[in-house]
């Protein structure tokens, strides 16, 4: 056998092995992927997608105002930590949605997350989650979903079969939990001293570790989602967004970690990224004004972010209510002008080629379909 001939044959063998499974499935069902990232703790939309052109922004935020946003258009800029999303935005693969909120209008994390995940209009109205109902709409052979958490979060709970995956070593606790523990120990002489000492040690390596953790979650998720017979729907939990104090540094870390997570998904999914929609959302936003401890308190509307090769991106979607006192919800929070439920329903429907109105009814029975939200995902 001539050398040239041999190489050709080997190449053909290898090629068919890699491609074969995809061809089979591509002809049968969708290859689209949908990833929901929940930001537990009420992420601050105003310092993520920053209305830098709005004069009231600087006044309200004071020391928390971001001086150097990455400008997206004449109104909004990205937090400077979001360098990966900036690139995706330039490639028209990232879409930012502002002044968006679930139907929940109180300010309890537990209840707010319950509404966001269940898809009900009030807390504890429904026992199953909208993401699980979405899985139920998919053809059986594609109907599996996975949660990257030790247990199944409410959004994915319900009748459809769902699995979960979490690495077995003890995960590092997020900054938010560490801060709260610190507060718990403040008045306790013995524990306060021990904790302070532990935090000094931890400060040395914390930020990098957090970013590395986030990237490894993204890589793990991509590994599952890029398998030919792997899950097509996934949920990833993030926490630590409740920035009542020390927000400037903490939010920067949080966003860097989220950016690293999405980047790891992007890299890990390879060509499958083109079939992927990633949606990140939180239970509610934070106060428009800075509080007395260098942070912000529980608010109402926030921002949601979409990324993926399938996303019709490169823009900010908002019916911007403004930040003047009269425009603020109850005089304190960014007012909600877009419905998060409707955004989720349309995004999911367009990802999988379902009818948006029917998807809305299945996922959020009590909600109202909003025809203004469309063309989120490329067909």
């Amino acid at each position: 056998m001539k050398r040239r001939q041999f190489l050709t044959l080997a190449g053909a063998g290898l090629g068919s092995m890699l491609i074969a499974p995809r061809i089979v499935f591509a002809n049968v069902e969708t290859d689209r992927r949908f990833v929901f990232i929940i930001q537990r703790g009420a992420a601050d939309g105003l310092n993520t997608i920053i209305p830098y052109a709005e004069p009231a922004y600087r006044t309200l935020r004071g020391p928390l105002a971001i001086d150097n946003p990455i400008k997206l258009d004449g109104t909004f800029g990205l937090h400077p930590s979001l360098t990966g999303l900036r690139k995706l935005h330039q490639d028209k693969q990232a879409l930012f949605v502002h002044a968006v909120a679930s139907p929940y209008r109180e300010r309890s994390h537990f209840d707010g997350q319950n509404v966001l995940e269940s898809g009900g209009t009030s807390p504890y109205e429904r026992k199953d989650g909208w993401l699980n109902r979405l899985v139920g709409m998919l053809p059986k052979s594609r109907g599996e979903a996975i949660a990257f958490a030790p247990t199944i979060p409410l959004a994915l709970r319900g009748q459809a079969d769902v699995t979960s995956y979490a690495p077995s070593a003890l995960p590092e606790a997020p900054d938010d939990l560490m801060m709260r523990v610190g507060k718990l120990y403040d008045a306790d002489e013995q524990l306060h001293a021990l904790w302070s000492s532990a935090m000094e040690t931890r400060a040395l390596g914390a930020v990098n570790a957090q970013r590395k953790d986030a990237a490894s979650v993204g890589r793990t998720a991509a590994g599952f989602l890029s398998k030919a017979d792997g899950p097509r729907v996934a949920m990833i939990e993030t926490s630590g967004w409740d920035t009542h104090s020390g927000q400037q540094g903490r939010l920067a870390n949080q966003l860097r970690a989220l950016d690293a997570l999405i980047d790891a998904l992007h890299v890990g999914l390879g060509d499958d990224w083109n079939d992927t929609t990633v949606l990140a959302a939180t239970e509610f936003g934070r106060t428009a004004a800075v509080n007395g401890t260098g942070g912000t308190d529980h608010g109402t509307a926030s921002a949601a972010m979409l990324a993926g090769g399938a996303v019709n991106g490169g823009r900010v979607l908002a019916d911007w209510p403004g930040l003047s006192t009269s425009a603020l919800h109850q005089g304190r929070d960014l007012a909600p002008t877009l419905d998060l439920d409707a955004l989720i329903a349309v995004t999911a429907a367009e990802t999988f080629g379902f009818d948006p109105e029917e998807t809305m009814r299945t996922l959020f029975a009590g909600g109202r379909f909003d025809p203004a939200i469309s063309d989120i995902v490329r067909k």
């Binding site: 994390h109 537990f110 030790p150 247990t151 077995s168 003890l170 606790a173 939990l177 926490s239």
Partner: protein
């Protein structure tokens, strides 16, 4: 109606931690005393467990089979035995924890853990690892509400203790075995190993610096010769206590001024019996119990009271526990004891209403937070003072573990749970911080690492 703090003390300090499905005891003291009646030494959770005789015989036979094999085969056999022992150890740790989650007598279950640590073995040698769980079932559980002397005899004669403290190879220099050996190999003279004798006096009975001398230890070690296990060749005997007269040092022994004329096994048994009844032993046990339940530096009055109960009842442990329950010092609302990692983990799992272990395995979790079960690496057992457990890195690891447990906790509302577990006696600061948590999970994690939950 009992005061909330008394209910919380009964559940959390005397018991293993409240469960959300627990009914708050109307009379905390009667609830504790009733457990003496209701305790089951051999509950269903252990029904699948193997005894140490079977396990030890299996191990000995495997080693015997490999005895004449080549080096590689011998190594392989040892490796297999080690892995088997490790796998069983992990199962046993999970089972021990399940017993602690399911028990209806958590006060007595805590006492089982206390005594098991008092008569500490350390699962490092494979023979000990294999039967660590069996040791607790066979030597501790049946006697936790009995007489101290019975528990002492059961513990010191258990193969786990004999292997751990090198007693099986302790040979009287003038024993029949030694004389025969001397004829065969003139250079190697068999002799005694003092390890078990010393630890019995220092740790299990009298307590350190309580008046015994090196001569007493040596004499006691000579008396103990013959305490061993069956040989591998004696089918089925290798995992059981055997007195081997051929190893026993003949002659009378004098220990702490008393001469023991008995021969054979009876000699050491008589010594053990005297050690169990000694004044110093009563004080030693009283101090350890008071330290466990009241404070790292226990109040002298309580120690005196418990020691007196021990002496008067001739080591009837229930009498001692009753004296403890009747001590007002034990009911102070302020929790003075910092939980060990084991106590913290068990109380957390109970607090979350768990009855299964799942992942991570308990052995793995306890390794990560610094207290591997039955592996204290010292015959003194694990320390029972905060200084050994409350440390910066240890706290961070507990927070990480709490986060992990909270993530598995489903839909529990941390606010409700906090009220239930502390019978309304939780500090306001903790209540407020749980209320402010960013998610249920964070709230649960905070509850589990709160100062209130770290102590009992």
């Amino acid at each position: 109606m009992a005061r909330p703090s008394e209910v919380a003390v009964a559940l959390n300090r005397f018991g293993l931690g409240a469960r959300p499905d627990d009914e708050a005891p109307a009379d905390p003291k009667s609830w504790l005393v009733a457990q003496f009646e209701n305790y089951d030494a051999n509950p269903a959770v252990f029904s699948g467990a193997q005894d140490s005789a079977t396990l030890g015989a299996g191990y000995a036979e495997a080693m015997l089979e490999a005895k004449d094999a080549d080096r590689a085969a011998k190594m392989a056999a040892r490796k297999t035995a080690r892995q088997k022992a490790q796998a069983l150890y992990r199962d046993e740790v999970d089972t021990r924890a399940r017993a602690a989650l399911e028990t209806s007598t958590p006060f007595v279950e805590r006492l089982v853990h206390f005594w098991s640590n008092h008569f500490a073995i350390s699962a490092e040698k494979p023979q000990v690892t294999l039967i660590a769980g069996a040791f607790e079932r066979e030597a501790i559980r049946p006697h936790v509400l009995g007489h101290f002397e019975d528990m002492l005899l059961a513990a010191e004669r258990h193969p786990a203790m004999l292997f751990y403290l090198d007693q099986v190879r302790s040979i009287g220099p003038n024993s029949r075995f030694a004389s025969r050996a001397a004829k065969r190999i003139a250079k190697r003279k068999p002799g005694i190993n003092e390890n078990l004798a010393r630890e019995i006096m220092e740790l299990h009975t009298l307590g350190v610096r309580s008046g015994y001398s090196q001569t007493d230890v040596t004499e006691f070690a000579l008396a103990l010769t013959g305490f061993s296990t069956g040989r591998a060749q004696e089918r089925g005997q290798a995992g059981a206590f055997t007195f081997r007269p051929g190893l026993h040092e003949p002659g009378e022994r004098t220990i702490m001024g008393k001469t023991y004329h008995q021969s054979g096994e009876k000699q050491a048994l008589a010594v053990l019996s005297d050690l169990a009844a000694a004044e110093a032993t009563a004080t030693h046990i009283a101090t350890k119990l008071a330290r466990h339940f009241i404070a790292d530096e226990p109040p002298a009055a309580v120690v005196t009271r418990l020691a007196e109960a021990f002496r008067r009842s001739k080591g009837d442990l229930v009498a001692v526990y009753r004296a403890l329950i009747d001590s007002p010092e034990a009911w102070q609302p302020a929790a003075a004891k910092f939980k060990t990692p084991w106590e913290w983990t068990i109380s957390a799992l109970r607090g979350l209403g768990r009855s299964d272990i799942g992942k991570p395995r308990l052995a793995q979790l306890l390794n990560q937070i610094g207290q591997p079960v039955w592996r204290p690496r010292s015959p003194a057992g694990y320390d029972d003072v905060a200084g050994s457990w409350a440390a910066p890195d240890a706290l961070v690891r507990r927070v990480e573990a709490a986060q992990r447990l909270a993530a598995q906790s489903g839909d529990i509302d941390p606010r409700d749970l906090a009220r239930k577990l502390f019978a309304g006696s939780l500090s306001e600061l903790t209540v407020a911080e749980i209320d402010r948590a960013e998610s249920r999970r964070t709230g649960i994690a905070l509850l589990l690492v709160s100062p209130d939950f770290q102590r009992r």
